[in-house]
C-alpha cells in the first residue's frame, strides 16, 4: 500500500489545505473561586484520601426535545458500576446528588462574564442553567449543570479573526481513578468546581494554527488573574475534520505542544477511513449490502495454547467469531502511526462491551503468533469463510460477548460510510483512541432545579470597568517598554501580569528591571527549589517600593531577594542592612590593613590588587559601599606599599 500521508515533519500548509483540514478547539479552564459552582464546598482542594465510597448506576433519559441521545444509549449498553470516592472536606451531599443545587456562585458567574467580555462575546441577558447528559458516571447526577453567558465572540489572530461560538460556565467532573471491566472508579474532589468552556469555530487550517490559538486563549484567560493555573486546571478538546470526513472531537489534551501531532494523526485516520470506504465500495460492499456471520467457536478452542483465549476458557468464558464478508485486508489497513483498522474495533469492544483486558480481539489478519493455522482452518469452515473474508474472534462471558459481537458488526459496517461520529481520547504518543459516540444537542435539557437568572446591564457595565486589558494590547505595550522578547509572553500570560503592571506604574521603575526580577529570576529560583511562594504580592510591593525610593539598592536587588528566600529575616531587616552607609577613610584604611595581614593578595600587579582589595572590602561591608567612593583609598593604599 502506498503511503497515506507524508511524515509529520514534512507536512506543509499546502498539504493540509489539500486535505481540507478544519479544526476547532474547546478549552476548559477552571476559574479561581473559593467555592464550587452550585454548593459551598471549597474548590481546588485535591487529595487521594477518601472517607467513603458511594455506588451508583446511570440510565439514559429523554432530552427536552424528546429523543434519546446516541451517547446515552451507548453508555447504557456498557452497564457500568460507578464508584465515587468521597472526602468529607471536599464533597457534600450536593455533589452526590442527594441535595438540590444551591444558587449559582455569583463570583464564578461574574468571572465568566468578564472573560466573555475580554473575548468579545455577545452577552446573554438572562442565564438558563441546562443539564448536559454525561452517562459515563463522571458526574453523579448523570448531567453537568452548565450555562451559556456569551455567543459569537472572537479573538484576533495573524491578520484575521478566529470566531468563538460560545462561552459556557459549568461544573467540573470527577477525576477517573480506574476503569476495569464493569467497574469505574472516580474521585469526587474536583467535581463541581467552576470552569469556563470556550468553543472556537473550526477556522484553523493547520495543526500549528490550532496550537497558536490554544496558546492565545490560554494566555488571555491566565493573564486575567481570574483563573486557576497548574496541572489539570486547563484542558483542551480538539475538533478535527478533513474533506469528506466527519467532525471528530479529541478529548483531554493536557498539553498544547501535543496538539499538532494529534491533529496530524487524526487527519491521517480520517483519510485512511475514507480510503477504506472507497475500497469497500469498489468491492461492492455498502451499508445496505454489508454482510456478516457469527458463530460460537468455543468448542474449537479447547486445545489452544494462546494465553488470552486459554485464560478465557479457564474462566468459563465463551469465544465467538464474526465473519466480515468481503473484508479481507481491511482489518490490517493502517489508520494512524503504528495502528491498523482492527484497533478501531478493539477500542469499541473495550469501551462498550467492557472487555478491558487486552488483547480483547484476534483477527485473521494478525501477523503475530496466536492460535494455530489448523484452528483457523476449522474456524473458517465453521463460519464458511472464503479468502475474501476477514474474521474477528472475541471472548468474554455470555452477556458481554453478545454486546461485543454486536459492536464488532456495528463498527465494521460503519467502515462502509467512512468516519463515524465519535468522541476520541488523546493519547500520549500523539495518536487517539475511541472514547464514546459523539453526543448531539439532544443531550441538553433545562435544569428544573434552578430558575433563570437575569444578568442586568448595570452589572455588566460595573464589571466592564474593571476589566484587565486583553493580552494582545498588553503584548504591544511591553514591546514598547523594551522588555526583552523572550519575556513578553510569559509576562503577558502570567496571572500576576496585572500586579506587574501596577508595580511599574506606581513605582516608576524600569519595566525591564522589574520584568527580569519578576519573571526571569523567579523561574531560576524556583528551579533551584527556593521557596518562591514567599514572594507574595505584598512582599514585592514592599521590595519594589523601597527600591524606588532608594535607587542605590538597585545593584543589590537580586542579593536582597535571594537572602530573603534563604533566611528567616524579614525583608525590611535585610533591606536595611543593604542600605548605603558612609564609612570614614580611617575605617576603610584599618580594614585594608587587616585584609592585607590576614589574606594578602597573590598578585604583584597593582591593577589586580586594586580589584582584589575592592572586592574584599565590598564583601566586608556587605556591598553597602559604592565602589567608586573607595577606589581612591585603595589606590593610595597600594601606592604606599600597602601601608596606611
Amino acid at each position: 500500500m502506498t503511503e497515506l500521508m507524508k511524515p509529520f515533519e514534512q507536512m506543509t500548509d499546502e498539504d493540509y489545505a489539500e486535505l481540507g483540514l478544519q479544526s476547532g478547539l474547546e478549552i476548559h479552564q477552571q476559574i479561581l473561586t473559593e467555592k464550587k459552582l452550585f454548593c459551598r464546598c471549597p474548590a481546588g482542594h485535591y487529595s487521594t484520601e477518601y472517607d467513603a465510597e458511594i455506588l451508583r448506576h446511570m440510565r439514559p433519559t429523554l432530552s427536552e426535545l424528546g429523543e434519546y441521545d446516541g451517547t446515552a444509549l451507548m453508555e447504557f449498553k456498557t452497564r457500568k458500576e460507578i464508584i465515587y470516592q468521597i472526602n468529607r472536606h471536599t464533597v457534600c451531599t450536593y455533589e452526590m446528588d442527594d441535595t438540590p443545587p444551591f444558587e449559582i456562585n455569583q463570583n464564578a458567574l461574574e468571572i465568566a462574564f468578564q472573560i466573555a467580555m475580554l473575548t468579545n462575546f455577545k452577552l446573554v441577558n438572562e442565564i438558563h442553567i441546562a443539564r448536559k447528559q454525561y452517562l459515563d458516571g463522571s458526574i453523579p447526577t448523570g448531567f453537568q449543570r452548565t450555562t451559556i453567558v456569551g455567543v459569537d465572540g472572537f479573538i484576533p489572530y495573524k491578520d484575521r479573526k478566529i470566531g468563538l461560538i460560545q462561552l459556557g460556565l459549568e461544573e467540573d467532573s470527577c477525576r477517573e481513578v480506574s476503569d476495569i471491566g464493569h467497574r469505574r472508579v472516580y474521585r469526587a474532589d474536583r467535581l463541581g468546581m467552576p470552569l469556563i468552556e470556550t468553543v472556537t469555530r473550526p477556522e484553523m487550517h493547520t495543526p500549528q494554527e490550532v496550537a497558536d490559538v490554544a496558546n492565545i486563549l490560554r494566555w488571555l484567560v491566565k493573564s486575567s488573574g481570574l483563573v486557576r493555573t497548574g496541572i489539570g486546571a486547563a484542558r483542551q478538546d480538539v475538533n478535527v475534520s478533513i474533506t469528506g470526513g466527519t467532525r471528530i472531537e479529541i478529548k483531554g489534551v493536557h498539553r498544547i505542544p501535543l496538539i499538532p501531532l494529534l491533529i496530524y494523526n487524526e487527519a491521517m485516520r480520517q483519510r485512511s477511513l475514507l480510503l477504506i470506504r472507497d475500497d469497500l465500495r469498489d468491492r461492492g460492499i455498502t451499508e445496505s449490502t454489508f454482510k456478516s456471520e457469527t458463530a460460537d467457536v468455543t468448542h474449537l478452542m479447547t486445545n489452544t495454547q494462546w494465553d488470552p483465549i486459554r485464560w478465557a476458557l479457564q474462566h468459563n468464558e465463551k469465544v465467538a467469531c464474526v465473519n466480515l464478508k468481503g473484508y479481507s485486508g481491511i482489518l490490517s489497513y493502517p489508520t494512524q502511526t503504528g495502528k491498523v483498522f482492527s484497533k478501531e474495533i478493539s477500542d469499541r469492544v473495550r469501551v462498550i462491551a467492557c472487555l478491558t483486558r487486552l488483547p480483547n480481539i484476534l483477527t485473521s489478519e494478525s501477523t503475530e503468533e496466536t492460535i494455530g493455522s489448523h484452528v483457523w482452518n476449522r474456524i473458517r469452515r465453521q463460519v464458511s469463510a472464503t479468502s475474501q473474508d476477514a474474521l474477528v474472534i472475541v471472548w468474554a462471558n455470555e452477556q458481554d460477548l453478545q454486546t461485543a459481537v454486536q459492536e464488532i458488526i456495528i463498527r465494521a459496517r460503519e467502515a462502509t460510510i467512512g468516519v463515524p461520529s465519535e468522541t476520541r481520547q488523546a493519547l500520549e504518543d500523539g495518536t487517539n483512541g475511541f472514547e464514546r459516540i459523539l453526543p448531539g444537542p439532544e443531550r441538553m435539557y433545562p435544569d428544573t432545579d434552578l430558575p433563570p437568572l437575569e444578568f442586568p446591564p448595570e452589572r455588566v457595565e460595573a464589571l466592564r470597568k474593571n476589566l484587565p486589558p486583553p493580552i494582545w494590547e498588553r503584548r504591544a505595550r511591553y514591546k514598547l517598554f523594551g522588555i526583552p522578547d523572550h519575556l513578553i509572553i510569559p509576562i503577558a500570560a502570567s496571572p500576576r501580569a496585572l500586579f506587574f503592571d501596577r508595580l511599574i506604574e506606581s513605582n516608576n521603575l524600569s519595566p525591564k528591571f522589574c520584568a527580569r526580577i519578576f519573571f526571569e529570576k523567579m523561574v531560576a529560583w524556583r528551579r533551584r527549589n527556593f521557596p518562591v511562594e514567599k514572594l507574595t504580592d505584598a512582599v514585592f510591593s514592599e521590595f519594589f517600593g523601597k527600591i524606588a525610593s532608594e535607587p542605590s539598592l538597585l545593584p543589590n536587588a537580586e542579593r536582597i531577594l535571594r537572602q530573603f528566600l534563604t533566611s528567616d529575616e524579614s525583608l525590611a531587616t535585610i533591606m536595611s542592612t543593604f542600605s548605603q552607609i558612609s564609612i570614614s577613610r580611617d575605617e576603610i584604611s584599618t580594614a585594608l590593613v587587616e585584609i592585607n595581614r590576614s589574606e594578602p593578595p597573590n598578585s604583584q600587579q597593582p591593577e589586580a590588587n586594586a580589584r582584589y582589595f575592592t572586592g574584599k572590602l565590598m564583601k566586608r561591608f556587605q556591598f553597602r559601599l559604592q565602589a567608586k567612593s573607595i577606589l581612591p583609598v585603595v589606590g593610595e593604599f597600594i601606592k604606599n606599599g600597602r601601608k596606611s
Partner: protein, 461 residues
C-alpha cells in the same frame, strides 16, 4: 400541545413577539443591539419575569434575551418539541405473576413542564414500561392511573379511592399491587392504607423516587424494579414502602407502612423505619427478610376494606410558649380529634391545660405522641404528664404522630364514642404500635466518630 401560541409570555415581552409575528416554537433570527442570535423560541415559565424571551440555540443551550434590546425577530421555520418515550406493549408470560401498578402521581412518573420549567406528573404507566423494560423480567404488568396529584395534595378522597382500587384488584386475583406515589406524604398514605385495607392476601407496595425520572441518576427505575419484584415474588402480604436503602444504588428496603417515615428532604435513602427494623431488603436477585413477624401471602382473594374517615382531625406540634388559642380554635371549629406531638415523653406547658380540658370535656379525642419520633410516650414519669392525663389526654404509645393522625381520622370515621375510639386507637392493627423497641430500632450514626468513620469507609452507605 396547548392552543396558546405564546405559552407563559406576558407583556411587555408578549407584545414584542406579536409585533414580530413569531410564536413559541418559531425558529428565528433575533437581532439585538449586540448582534444576531439564532434559535427556537421556547415557552416561558409563568413564574419567571415578563422581560425575557427564551431562545434554544442550535447547540442545545437556552438563553434569555431582554425584550428592550430586541430590534427585530424573523421567523425562518418552526420546530415543536414532542416529548415521548417509545411506548411498548408489555410482554405477557402466563408463567409470570400478574402485578398491578396504580398511579397516583409524584416523581416516579413525571416529565418536564415547559410552562413552569418544573417536573410534573405525566408519564402514562405504559410509557413507564417503555423506559424500564426490566419490569418484564418479573411479572405481567397492568397499570391504572388513579389520579395525577403531587403527594402534598393527597387526602382522604384519594386514600379512599386508592383503598377501593386495591381491594378491587385483590378480588380480581392480582398477585401483587404497586402504588406509585410522591414521596412527601407517602408515609401518611402507607399508614392509612394499612388501616383501610386489612388482611390482604398479597403484597401492597408503595414506591416513589427522590430524583425525578427525567434524570440519569434517578432512583425511579431502581425503586420501581424492586417494588415490582416485591409485589410479584415476596410472601409479605402487608402494606409496605419500598425505597432506596443506602444512598448507593444497591438494594431497597421494605418498610412496614405504619412505622415508616420520610426523614430527609432530599436524600435517596430518606425513608426509615422508626423505633424498629425494616421488614426486608430487596435487590434484583433476591428478597431478604430481616424479621419473621409479618403477614404471609395467601392464595385466596379475601380482604377487609374499611374506608371510614373523619376529616376534622389535626396534629398540633407543640413548641415552648404555645398559647391556648391554638387549641381553642380547633375546639371552636368543631374538630373531633387532636393529635399532640409533645416534647420529650409527651409534654406541653401549663397554660394549655384549661383548653385541653375543655376539648376533652367536649368529647374531642385528644392523643399524645412524641415529637422525638423515636421512643414511647410515657406520661407517668413526670408530674406534668400525669396532670395532662388528668385532663383527659390519652397517651398513644409509640404511634408516630402522622400515623396517629390518620388512625384517629379512621377511628372517628367509624364511631363517635370516645371509648370505642380509644379501643381502636390503642389496639395495634397493622404493627403501628409495637410492644417493644429493639436495641437497634434507633440508629442514627453520628458522623465524625472514629468507629463510624471506619465503618463508612468499609461499607457503601
Amino acid at each position: 400541545m396547548s392552543s396558546n401560541p405564546y405559552k407563559g409570555y406576558r407583556d411587555p415581552v408578549l407584545s414584542v413577539l406579536k409585533e414580530n409575528a413569531v410564536e413559541v416554537w418559531s425558529d428565528v433570527e433575533l437581532l439585538t443591539d449586540q448582534g444576531e442570535f439564532k434559535g427556537i423560541i421556547l415557552p416561558r415559565s409563568e413564574t419567571s419575569d415578563a422581560k425575557h424571551v427564551v431562545l434554544k440555540l442550535r447547540n442545545g443551550y437556552n438563553i434569555g434575551i431582554a425584550f428592550n434590546r430586541i430590534r427585530s425577530i424573523k421567523e425562518i421555520g418552526r420546530k415543536e418539541a414532542h416529548y415521548q418515550i417509545p411506548e411498548k406493549e408489555f410482554p405477557r408470560d402466563p408463567k409470570k405473576p400478574n402485578v398491578k401498578l396504580l398511579g397516583t402521581g409524584g416523581t416516579i412518573a413525571s416529565r418536564l413542564d415547559y410552562r413552569t420549567g418544573a417536573v410534573i406528573p405525566a408519564f402514562s404507566p405504559g410509557e413507564l414500561y417503555g423506559s424500564v423494560p426490566e419490569l418484564a423480567d418479573y411479572c405481567n404488568l397492568d397499570t391504572e392511573r388513579l389520579f395525577g396529584v403531587f403527594s402534598e395534595n393527597m387526602g382522604p378522597e384519594q386514600w379512599i379511592a386508592t383503598a377501593q382500587a386495591i381491594a378491587a384488584e385483590i378480588q380480581k386475583g392480582t398477585h401483587g399491587i404497586v402504588i406509585g406515589h410522591g414521596t412527601d406524604t407517602m408515609h401518611h398514605t402507607s399508614a392509612i392504607l394499612s388501616f383501610m385495607v386489612q388482611n390482604s392476601p398479597v403484597p401492597i407496595v408503595m414506591v416513589g423516587s427522590q430524583r425525578s425520572s427525567d434524570r440519569p441518576s434517578s432512583d425511579a427505575a431502581s425503586n420501581l424494579i424492586h417494588a415490582v419484584k416485591t409485589a410479584a415474588e415476596s410472601d409479605i402480604a402487608e402494606t409496605m414502602v419500598c425505597m432506596f436503602g443506602p444512598t448507593s444504588d444497591q438494594y431497597a428496603l421494605l418498610h412496614r407502612g405504619t412505622r415508616v417515615r420520610k426523614m430527609h428532604s432530599s436524600y435517596r435513602s430518606t425513608f426509615r423505619t422508626i423505633s424498629d427494623i425494616p421488614l426486608a431488603m430487596v435487590d434484583r436477585e433476591k428478597i431478604t427478610p430481616l424479621r419473621q413477624d409479618y403477614q404471609r401471602r395467601r392464595s385466596d382473594k379475601n380482604v377487609t376494606l374499611n374506608t371510614a374517615f373523619e376529616e376534622k382531625v389535626s396534629i398540633v406540634y407543640y413548641y415552648p410558649n404555645m398559647k391556648p388559642d391554638i387549641i381553642d380554635s380547633l375546639i371552636d371549629n368543631d374538630y373531633r380529634g387532636i393529635i399532640i406531638a409533645g416534647t420529650g415523653l409527651g409534654h406541653v406547658n401549663k397554660p394549655l391545660y384549661p383548653s385541653l380540658k375543655r376539648a376533652c370535656d367536649k368529647g374531642i379525642s385528644v392523643y399524645m405522641t412524641v415529637q422525638t419520633l423515636w421512643g414511647y410516650v410515657q406520661m407517668y414519669v413526670y408530674e406534668t404528664g400525669r396532670e395532662i392525663m388528668q385532663l383527659g389526654v390519652i397517651p398513644a404509645a409509640n404511634l408516630l404522630p402522622e400515623v396517629a393522625y390518620v388512625k384517629l381520622g379512621w377511628a372517628l370515621g367509624q364511631t363517635k364514642d370516645p371509648q370505642k375510639v380509644k379501643e381502636i386507637m390503642l389496639t395495634s392493627i397493622a404493627g403501628e404500635i409495637t410492644e417493644r423497641e429493639p436495641y437497634d430500632g434507633y440508629l442514627i450514626y453520628q458522623g465524625g466518630i472514629p468507629e463510624v468513620v471506619e465503618f463508612l469507609r468499609q461499607i457503601k452507605r
